[in-house]
Amino acid sequence: MRKFLAVLALLATSACATPYVAIPYEADQNPVATITLIEDVGSANVMAYEFASAGGNFGLVGAIVDAGVQSSRRARVEEVLENAGFDAQAFFRTRLTEELEALGYAVEIAQIDGRNRADLMETYPDDGDEVQAYLDTVLRSYGFVSAGAGTPFRPHASVEAQLFNPDTDAVLMRNAVIYASVGQPQGQIVLSPNPRHVYNNREELLEDPDRLVDAVRAAISETAVTVARLLAP
């Protein structure tokens, strides 16, 4: 179900007419020294999805066959990542923290409940003077995507981020970053995938587990770097 929602969201962001409403960070207007990063960055499962698949073009039977093929591919990629002990959410959090610290921020991690699927949180605790700004990030999807039959798989990651001042209830920054986007979502930041990480079919994707993990790491790392750059003082 989660995978279905992630794919639906990805398609929606590709096709939607209403532009994404970003809020650029104005560092000189709202200077922040300490960022409180919310530990829960969502719980998206890995995806390995071919969008315009051959099966999907052939009615109900094709769709059923296609669902099986997609599911089997995703399960194999998940198995490879599990065998490598790769935790996408933890890796994203670590890379984001490193990049924020490199920009000069002090970063604290806060355990806050209330995440609803892959959405930004609707409310944040009022911690008085203790928290200068919450950084709420959601790893919306990650793994591999192919635009369609005959096109290669490329590593993918998608993140939404929001910086919130609990003292003034103001959103200081909001943006979405997509590494390897299928379509051109208006208003969201798009990162072109590294041409080195290209897999022409399922066999190529799975033949070298280390390479597969490296590709996913690269996609998630690039999104984390970009989110941090949006907060450059």
């Binding site: 532009p19 409403v21 635009a147 039959a149 390897a180 379509g183 208003g187 072109s192």
Partner: protein, 213 residues
């Protein structure tokens, strides 16, 4: 008699349809590497800006301008290099606005945008560093929230960017209609294209103003 009259008509029609079918589309514009020859103004003229309108809440208004050799040009004293420029006037608004300045990704080129905000007298309020620009779904872009003292936005060309190339891989889905014997069906096709573009002195700039209620 009548056949003799009709035949040339058919021939002309056939020739016209043949010419239409075989017309080669014009090649995409290439990147322009040379600055305007000038002479150029010593300061940007603010007398005739493009007028951006406040859209309805949660909607956007969009305006585009082609930056070419015919566009007004300015001799930038910081670089000593001439640059074409376009100025757009920011509307007064009670609600928060989000302005996105976009250089769309043409087939071969992208305008090397350099963006400043100006006050009502044409004085620079903010000049945005290159690291503030990102690639949005629509192109090489800068997002900014206009401030009270900012009345206009000026887009010129960053000469240091001109000539640099940027490669990207663009993935998407297209559709086509096919006849199946029982009727038409929509087929979905994926595409995955590796492209290379150069930043240019000329190109298109788009201003998208979003009313964030």
């Amino acid at each position: 008699m009548s056949r003799a009259v009709v035949k040339p008509g058919i021939a002309v029609l056939a020739l016209a349809s043949f010419a239409t079918a075989c017309a080669t589309p014009p090649p995409p514009p290439v990147a322009v590497m040379a600055p305007p020859a000038g002479p150029c103004d010593e300061s940007m003229g603010i007398e005739a800006p493009l007028l951006l309108e406040v859209p309805n809440p949660n909607r956007a208004s969009v305006m585009a301008a082609d930056v070419t050799a015919e566009t007004a040009c300015w001799s930038n004293p910081e670089t000593g290099i001439n640059t074409p420029y376009v100025i757009a006037q920011l509307p007064q608004s009670e609600t928060q606005l989000l302005l996105t300045v976009i250089a769309p990704l043409d087939r071969l080129r992208t305008l090397a945008t350099d963006v400043r905000t100006l006050d009502a007298n044409g004085q620079v309020v903010r000049h945005f560093e290159r690291d503030r620009f990102v690639t949005l779904g629509d192109g090489y872009s800068l997002q900014l929230t206009p401030r009270a003292e900012e009345a206009m936005v000026a887009v010129s060309v960053d000469p240091e960017l001109v000539g640099l190339t940027h490669e990207s891989i663009e993935m998407g889905i297209s559709t086509s209609q096919v006849y199946t014997g029982y009727g038409t069906a929509t087929m979905y096709h994926g595409h995955d294209l590796q492209t290379e573009r150069s930043y240019s002195f000329e190109g298109r700039v788009v201003f998208r103003l979003l009313n964030v209620e």
